[in-house]
Symmetry: D2
C-alpha cells in the first residue's frame, strides 16, 4: 500500500463467487483497504481457506451494521430482494455502495416487480446509477449508489452500443453462452461435475431476467423494441461469449463496422475491438471485453467476450468504485503494468 | 452375426474421426460385414490401436480398387474434391456409396464451385440423393449414391423442418456450437488441448460452407432467402447444439409449436421433441436428435442437439446405408433394445 | 430379446450412478429382462428422464418386497449398512443377488465393523462370494449372493494378481486416480463443477475403506503385509487409473513381466495386457481392464485402467450375474460383436 | 515502474509456454525492464497476439547477440542442447542468465550425456548454480548462471526435503501427475484436445529424464539410492501434483511429521504446509507450493502441489533472478499484496 488508502471497504456476501473475487480485488488494490468480509454462510471460515486460489487472510463474519458504520464504502453481493435492505441501511450510515444484485438495475419499479417480485426499497431506485461503466461514466463519477449490471447485459451492450448509437439496429437476437461459475455456488446435482462435463444446453429459453435489463439499456440509446435473448451453459469455469445478430437499418460493410468500433472504443482502457473472433481465454481473469463485428449473410454479427466473474461482476464493481471515489478508473485492475 | 450379411462393406478414409466411427458401426452392425478399412495415412496400423475406444481389429490398408470391386457398398470419408473421383470409380464398379464429403451435397454446380473450387466429377451430381434421412427418406430407399449431409445442416434442418413446412419462417438466424471432434484430426497448435480447454469462440463468422447447404434444404421446403449461420467451438469432445432464431410469419404460441413438433416427429425413431432444452450428453454416442421449440420474445427459438460424429456424420451414414440396402432403418443403431 | 429371458431382474437403488448403469445394462442384455427399477429418491421419475443418456423407459418405484418376490435376481446398489437388510430379505425370498455395497466384501466381521460400523446381517457373510470375476470365477458360477468388489480393489488386484501369484511382491504402494463419477451423486459444493474443473487432489490419504479389501485379496493369494493406498480425484467423468509400485522379491526384467502377464491373462475376455501405458479413454464405457507392467528403477510398476462405473461397478455386476445364472460370462457386455 | 529498473532483461525462446510466461512476469515486474523477446518461431508476431491471455505488447524477434550484449540479464527457454551455446555466448558478454533447459542441471557430465546426449558446453557446468530456490538459496544470491530445475524435481524435492534432511528416508517412490501445458507446444495429434479430454495415462514409465535430477538433489542431502519416478498426464491445463511414498527409517507419526514440515518451511514465502491434501487450483497461476504430509499404512506420504508453468518453470526463474540481482526474492511474484 502506497500512502493512505482512499477508502476503507467492506465486502458483504463474500462467501459467493462474485463476493469472494470482489474481496480479492479490494485486497490487492493499491488504494483500497479491505476492512471486513461478511457472509450469511461459512461465518468463522477464513476466506483463503474457502477460496485458496484467492489470497485474503480474513475471517468471514456476520454483517454488523454498527461495525461497518464508520467505513467509507461497501460492495454488496447478496441475492436480489435480500440486498436492498442492506444497501439502504449502509446508505443511511453514509457508505458509498456498489450493489451486485438486480435490486437497483431496473429504473422502472413495475418492470422490477414483474420479474423479481416486490421491491423492498423502491425509494432508492431513483438515486442509483447504472454501472455499465463505458456507457454511463459521467453519472458514476462521485456516485453514492451504483447498481452493477448483470453479466449478460454488460457483454451484450458493449457489443451493441456502437450500432445502437448509430441507429443501425432494426432488430436484434442475442445468443449467449457462459461458464459454470455464472450459476453461482450451490445448485446441488444440477451443478455436479458429472452433470456438466461434456455437456452444453440452453436455459430459461422463454424468459430470462436479464432481458428487461438489456432492453432498458437499448431503449436509453434509442432502440425501443423487444429483444430475444437465450443463454446457455458450456463446460468451462469462467467466461462469457455473447453473439448479437442484428438486422441492420441500412446496408453496411464489415470494414465500415470495424472502423466504427475502432473509433467508438479508441479511448476505452478495457474494451478492445479485435479482428479475429475473440476467445474466452483471452479475457479470463481480466476486466477486459473483446468485441468483434462483421457482416454475416443478411445480418450484422457483434460478439463480445468477457470473464463473467470479472467484467461481468466483481472487477466492474471495482472499476465503478474507483470512479465513485475519484480514483483512476483502472486502479487495481491492470496486471503487469 | 445372425444369418448371411446383407452387404459386404469397405470404409475408405477410416483413419479420421468420422471414418473410424463408421467402421466401428459397420463392425457392430448385425447385417453388415466390414471387409476392409482403408486410409491415406496410418496404413499398416490396426484400427483398434489407432482408436482403442473402438473395437475394430482390422489393419488400415491403402485403397485398392481391384480388391474392393466385388464388395457391395462403401462409406467414403475423404475430404471434398478428393472424394468425388474415388466415389466415381466405386460407382463404376457397382458399389453403393455413402459419401461423407461435401462433393455431392449441393445440387447446383455453380454454388459448389463458388464454395469448394472445381468439381472433379460433376456428372454424378444429378444421381446423388441427399441423405438427411428424415427429410428425404423416399429418395434414399434403394439409392446407389447418397451424399451424407454436413453436421450443421443436419441439426439445423431437423430443428427448422416443421416450421418451414408450415410456412412459418419469415427470417432465420442460426447459432451453432460444436465439440472439438468436429474439427477433425490434425490442426496442430490450433487443436492443442491447452488452446481449447477453458475456451470458446466463433469461427468462420462471415461465411461457412454449410450455409449454402442449409439454404438449399430450406429452399426445397419453400423458404428462399439467405440465412445467417455462425458456428462456435466449445470445450468438449462430441456434441453439437444448434439454436435457430426464427422471425415468424404470424403469431404463434409455444403450445402450438410443441404440438406441431410432436406431430411432425411422432413416427421418427431418432428424433425426439423434448420439453426441456436438450443437453449434449443426452444424445452423445447415439443417432438421436433432440429438438426443443419455444416462443422467446418476438422470435421462435428451435434448438436441436445431436452428436456431431454420429447423427452429424457416421451413424446417419449407416441409417442411410440401411435404406439403400432395403434394411430396417434402425438396424445397428439402437443400443440395448 | 431372442427367446425366453434367462432371468427377470430388479435393480434396487437405480437412482444413483452405479444403479442406473446396471439398469441400462440389464435393459440391453439379450438374456435378461429388466422388470423393475426402484430407488429411495426420485420415485415416480422415469429413468430415461433422470439419465437421458441411458435408454430405460421405466419409472422408478419404491422397493416393494412383495412385488419382487417372484423375480429371479436383483442387483442392489444401496449404501453400506442400508444394503444388507434388503439383501437378506431378497435372499429369503429366493432371489439371487449381486450387492454393489461393501456389506459382504470383507470376510472378517471385525474388520468390517472397524471400517464401516455395526454389520446388520453378519449371518450372510459366510455365504457370499467375492465377485472379482477373474480371480474367483469358480466360486461365482451358480452362486446365490455375490459381493461386487470396490472399484479400486478391482483395478489394483487385476494389476497385482500375476505378481502376487508368483510370490514376486515384497512390498506394495498403490496410487490411484479416479474420475468424478466415482464420488457418486450428491456431495454439494464439493462436487460443484467449479470446484473440480482444472483441479486434482488426493483424499482419504491416511485411511481409505478399500485398503482392507485390497489387503484381504492379497492375503488370499499369499501376500500378508499392510499396503499403502492413496486415491485421487482428477477432472474427468468416468475412468480409474491405478499404479502399483512393487518392491520385487527378486530381480526381474520388463520382458519377463510382460510374458507373465500375457500368459496369465491369455484367456480372459476382458483383461488385456498392453505394451503402452493404458489411457482411460481406451476402456471408457466398457468392461475392459487394460494392464501394463514394467520395471522402473528399483520397482515393478503395474498399472491398470478401468471404467470405474463399468468394470469397477455395474458391468462387473452383470459379468457376475451371468455366471450366477449359468450364462456366458460376456453376454450383454461386448459391443459390436 | 517505480524508480530505475534493477536490470534490463531479454527472454529468449519466448514463443513457448514457459518462455511466454517468463516474458509476462518480467513485463509485470516492478524492478525489471523487458527489453526484448526473441524466438526461433513466430518471429514478427506480437507476443500478445500469440498469447492474448498475457499482456506483452512486444514483437518476437530473432535473437541477435549484438543487440542483447548491453543488457543485464537473460532468461533462456530453449530445448536442451540448443540452450547451452546461447547461454555460453550470453555469459561471455556479461549477462546473468537463468537457463530453463536441462543443460546445466546435472553436475555430472557423464550422467548428462547418458540422458541427453553430447553436452555442447561442459566447461560451464561447474559455474552453474542449481535453482531450486528453497534448497540452494545461498548459492543463488549474486550467481551469474542458474540452472532452473525441472518441474517434477521442484515439486518432489519440496515434498521430500524435510524428510531427507532428517535422515527419514529408507526408500522412495514418486508418482506424479501433470496438466497438459507441461508437454509444451507442438506435439500434433498426441496433444489434440480430443486425444486428451476425458483421458489420463502414464508416460515414460521405465525412464524419465527428471529421475537423475531428483536423485542428484537427494544425494546432496544424504540419500544415495535410486528412486522410482512415474509421471502421468491428466486432463487440465496448468498444475502438477507429486506424491512421494517414503519407507521411513524409523517409526513416525503424522503429528510429528506435520510439526517437522511446519518448522522447516516456517520462513519460506512460497511454501505452505497444509493439513488437507492440496488441490491444483489452490496454487494455479502462483509461485506457491503446498505440501502435505501424513502417515498412510506403512509409508509416509508427502504430497506437493505446484503450477508446473510457474513454480515449476517461469516464476521460479524470476525468484532466482531476483536473488541473482540482489532484489527481494518475492518481487513481482506476490499478487494483491
Amino acid at each position: 500500500m502506497i500512502g493512505d488508502p482512499a477508502a476503507r471497504v467492506v465486502v458483504a456476501g463474500a462467501s459467493g463467487f462474485a463476493g469472494a473475487l470482489a474481496a480479492q480485488l479490494v485486497w490487492g488494490h493499491p488504494r483500497l483497504e479491505l476492512t471486513a468480509v461478511t457472509a450469511r454462510s461459512d461465518v468463522g471460515t477464513r476466506l483463503d481457506r474457502l477460496y485458496p486460489r484467492y489470497r485474503v487472510p480474513l475471517e468471514l463474519t456476520e454483517l454488523d451494521m454498527g461495525e461497518v458504520a464508520d467505513l467509507d464504502a461497501a460492495i454488496v453481493a447478496y441475492p436480489h430482494a435480500a440486498s436492498a435492505p442492506v444497501v439502504a441501511e449502509m446508505r443511511s450510515r453514509g457508505l458509498k455502495v456498489v450493489d451486485l444484485s438486480a435490486d437497483f438495475r431496473l429504473r422502472d419499479l413495475e418492470t422490477y416487480e414483474k420479474w423479481y417480485g416486490k421491491h423492498p426499497n423502491p425509494e432508492l431506485l431513483e438515486g442509483a446509477a447504472y454501472g455499465l461503466t463505458e456507457l454511463n461514466r459521467d453519472s458514476l463519477r462521485g456516485a453514492d449508489l451504483v447498481a452493477n449490471p448483470g453479466c449478460y447485459p454488460t457483454a451484450a451492450m458493449l457489443a451493441l452500443a456502437p450500432l445502437v448509437e448509430q441507429g443501425l439496429i432494426a432488430d436484434v437476437v442475442i445468443n449467449a453462452m457462459q461458464g459454470i461459475s455464472g450459476a453461482g455456488r450451490g445448485g446441488g446435482d444440477a451443478m455436479h461435475y458429472v452433470t456438466l462435463t461434456e455437456n452444453a444446453f440452453a436455459y430459461k429459453v422463454e424468459a430470462h431476467r436479464h432481458t428487461p435489463e438489456i432492453e432498458q439499456s437499448l431503449r436509453e440509446l434509442g432502440f425501443d423494441r423487444p429483444v430475444t435473448f437465450v443463454p446457455h451453459l458450456i463446460p468451462l469455469d469462467q467466461g462469457e461469449l455473447v453473439d448479437c445478430y442484428v438486422t441492420p437499418t441500412r446496408e453496411v460493410t464489415t470494414d465500415e463496422l470495424r472502423s466504427l468500433y475502432a473509433e467508438r472504443y479508441a479511448d476505452e482502457p478495457f474494451v478492445r475491438p479485435v479482428d479475429d473472433p475473440p476467445g474466452l481465454r483471452d479475457v479470463r481473469d481480466t476486466n477486459d471485453c473483446h468485441v468483434h463485428v462483421a457482416v454475416s449473410g443478411p445480418k450484422i454479427v457483434a460478439i463480445a467476450a468477457i470473464d463473467n466473474l470479472w467484467k461481468g461482476a466483481s472487477s466492474q464493481a471495482i472499476q465503478n468504485l474507483n470512479l465513485m471515489l475519484g480514483l483512476d478508473e483502472t486502479e487495481g485492475l491492470i496486471r503487469g503494468g
